[in-house]
């Protein structure tokens, strides 16, 4: 099957298509998270090595942390496409992703903090990974702040795109933050991922939750993109025909 991608890069074509996809993704998000949480809560052992039941936060914490980084990468991807091809839609996508990315970042911080209270005895400590995750949140916020501080949409899009590109350095830093040049100095509380050793049940539940989060992300991002399109394209004929509202 041959799909004409350029056709869908026009907001006028993209708008109705994603309109149809939203309920679909929303449905998956709900079903999968219910399933994933059920699985995680009732099909996994109560006690994991020295940890108590609380470890089950992992089913939110880890997928959320992954999402925070993935969404950032995707956002930068759209921004770069925008900078290169100057397509309006890609900027809109990037702008729509930021709030969701920030939300997941916050979620991973939040859940991490609670887990930390039970596991390390403190809500917050200056573990490099936690700190760099916090900085990622600030980068997201900076992105949104910059975008909303500029009135001219085109300038706002491009400026925010450049910022996001620069902020990309945060990802490797988060990723490698467990390995620092001198382990004695910034010994991290986080250990390297032990996914190889943990029970497959836990792994599966985490994967399901990740897919659920993806579905949720698609749904909200599409909703937000539709709003942005409505707002930015209000002068265009296709939209005026569609909504019957004259701007």
């Amino acid at each position: 099957m041959k799909i004409n991608w350029f056709k869908y890069s026009a907001p006028s074509n993209f708008y109705p298509v994603i309109g149809k996809l939203i309920p679909f993704f929303m449905f998956f998000a709900i079903v999968l998270s219910i399933g994933g949480l059920y699985w995680g809560f009732f099909q996994t052992p109560d006690v994991l090595s020295d940890q108590k039941q609380y470890y089950r936060i992992i089913f939110i914490h880890v997928p959320a942390a992954w999402m925070s980084m993935w969404l950032y990468a995707v956002m930068v991807g759209w921004a770069v496409i925008g900078l290169i091809f100057n397509t309006r839609l890609s900027y809109m996508m990037a702008a729509a992703i930021a709030p969701t990315g920030a939300m997941f970042t916050f979620l991973s911080l939040w859940t991490g903090a609670f887990w930390g209270k039970t596991s390390w005895g403190t809500y917050w400590d200056w573990d490099p990974r936690m700190t760099s995750e916090l900085m990622l949140l600030f980068v997201y916020i900076g992105y949104m702040a910059l975008q909303s501080a500029i009135d001219d949409t085109r300038r706002a899009d491009q400026a925010a795109a450049i910022l996001s590109l620069v902020g990309l350095v945060m990802l490797p830093i988060i990723y490698f933050s467990i390995n620092c040049p001198n382990p004695a100095e910034c010994s991290s509380l986080h250990q390297g991922s032990s996914t190889q050793q943990i029970e497959t049940n836990i792994l599966w539940a985490m994967l399901v939750m990740t897919i659920a989060f993806w579905a949720y992300a698609f749904a909200v991002i599409f909703m937000r993109v539709r709003n942005i399109i409505l707002q930015r394209e209000r002068h265009t004929k296709w939209l005026q025909n569609l909504t019957g509202v004259k701007a």
Binding site: V139, R155, I173, P181, E185, C186
Partner: protein, 223 residues
Amino acid sequence: MFTVFKTILGRDLTLAMRRKTDILTTFFFFVIVISIFPLGVGFDKAMLQKMAPGIAWIAALLASMIALERLFASDYEDGTLEQMLLSHQPLIIIVLAKVFAHWLLTGLPLVLIAPLAGLQYHLSGDEVGIMMLTLLLGTPILSLLGAIGAALTLGLRGGGVLISVLILPLYVPILIYGAGAVSTSMEAGSNVQAYLLLLGAFLILALFFTPWATAAALRIASE
């Protein structure tokens, strides 16, 4: 091309010299922040010693940042930036010259004055040496990164504070490794080299990539 670099550098330095206070102020800002800290946190010697690298670095970071706001803003307001954008000289060169001037005016004085901080916080000679070295490697990165923020927020109201929000998170890794190096050097048998290499690598990366981003941001801002 080198003439352009020299001219712009000369221009920015002359501008700073015309107001002699300009150079002195960054300097004093640094000194004051450093002197104020013990007032806020107490005079415990061991604690001060431990805090010294962090505070010196944070003061450097804030001093550099505060001066950043004017890096392009004044050129933007009086229309000279427009003229630079329209000159057919490579914008990257112009950006590099301006950033270099900024560093000479804000970064270098901090490096030179670091021993004073060392004195106030009871650091040993070696530690002061490491501190100067890390500042020497690190402050240009601050200027280079900060230039992006300055260019992005050009002409926005409250740009100054916005720069901080955009740039501080990016400064964090520099801060960690910069201050980390000095802290590490305080421990016996420690290996500072890894930190310095990392900072050096960051500097080279920044030198290559940030001018592009800044130039692009400037073009966007002028629209």
